[in-house]
Symmetry: C2
Subunit: 240 residues, 2 copies
């Protein structure tokens, strides 16, 4: 399944290996699904595809079910197998990242709901260029974070953390632009505010991708790098 | 410490008990701090108290440090003590709720940053009545969720979950009110949008309080009630 992941191939107990593999596979599947949900939500918004917007909201149930299944799997591993060292870290990291994946699914669903409303009103509002741009970046971040998770790749995880800093800056700038649109033409306030909520969701998705990447560093290096500046993270990672 | 909490008094191993007590105490202390952060952030906003707004942002570091300490304590318990049954559920629930507490701290910090900006500009914008009202409700929710956690009180946890439904409804209504303010007087768009972000943060805090309460139900009953309607939760809880 994940031949390059060192955690998933070193166990003597084949039953433990199977259990962990099983949850890991579910986690990666959920990740792929969530990535698709975000892509579809943005697509539905920008191309005013109402059916797709409805589909994204509907599929949020599937994401939620994955979250429950994964947590249940992890709890069983803890109860039966008493993992230690890097195995324990993988279980903990997956439990945290699982929450982040579900939240990304939530944000995709919120974007899809707004897309559905905007579809009904027709005509695309201003701010779509910014949405497309930030949306694309955020999708890459989710993909890279999951890839880093699958391969326990600290360098890739670091890249995602850095990308989140860009996103935050671009989100600020896009918000300012939207504010001027509203002041210029107050008739479109309600519509532009909807685009603002979308940007906010995208910014949050970036945060969650960053969180997942921080869990990759925890898993691989045993270091808790949450609430730490990029310079500090780089320094810490290179020390070990 | 928590004489009424059945999980914290039944252990034969006194070392295990001490470890779990220790993390539990930290968790409750963090909870109290976070509750205060939210109260102070709202206070700073409504009474244009800039110093308090700065203090809230500054103290976010303390909240973050608690999050790290608690997770470290929980990991050590998992590695050394191999908790089972309700003990394991308490460790897992505390790990999840820990994340929620930290996010509540984040939202308080965001509110405080906005409060600081608004202080500098002087003059209180419209929408403060809504903020005060929802702010008070959300504070009660955090308090009740933590209280339910400390006493493993499922009924109280259920009450918090129900309160979250009210918050969501009032948030929607307040957002609509703010929208009309902006359309009526576009000169205040920037300021009213800031109040909108505050309301959004409060609504998110309500979600986190609900999440913590769901973990209380998981801890006490072993049931995962996330993504479940209130009717279903009540039914499930009463079945057991």
């Amino acid at each position: 399944m994940s031949p390059s992941n060192p955690v998933l191939s070193h166990h003597i107990s084949s039953q433990f290996n199977e259990d962990l593999q099983d949850v890991h596979t579910k986690f990666m599947t959920m990740g792929g699904l969530v990535e698709q949900q975000v892509a579809n939500a943005i697509h539905a918004l920008l191309d005013t595809d109402e059916n797709l917007a409805i589909d994204v909201q509907f599929k949020d149930n599937v994401v939620n079910q994955y979250e429950r299944d994964i947590d249940e799997g992890l709890t069983l591993i803890l109860a039966r197998r008493h993992p230690a060292a890097i195995d324990l870290r993988m279980v903990i990291a997956m439990s945290k990242a699982n929450t982040d994946l579900e939240r990304i699914g939530d944000e995709a669903s919120k974007i899809a709901r707004i897309a559905q409303n905007l579809c009904e009103e027709g005509e695309s509002p201003r701010g779509y260029m910014e949405t497309r741009h930030i949306g694309n970046q955020v999708r890459v971040m989710i993909h890279d974070a999951l890839d880093a998770f699958a391969r326990l790749d600290v360098d890739q995880a670091l890249k995602v953390v850095m990308a989140d800093v860009d996103i935050d800056r671009e989100y600020q700038s896009a918000t300012r632009t939207l504010m001027t649109y509203m002041i210029e033409d107050p008739r479109h306030i309600a519509r532009v505010i909807n685009v603002m909520w979308v940007l906010r969701s995208l910014e949050r998705i970036g945060d969650h991708a960053r969180n997942i990447s921080e869990q990759v560093i925890y898993m691989a290096k045993g270091m808790d790098v949450r609430h730490t500046s990029i310079e500090e993270i780089e320094q810490k990672v290179n020390q070990k």
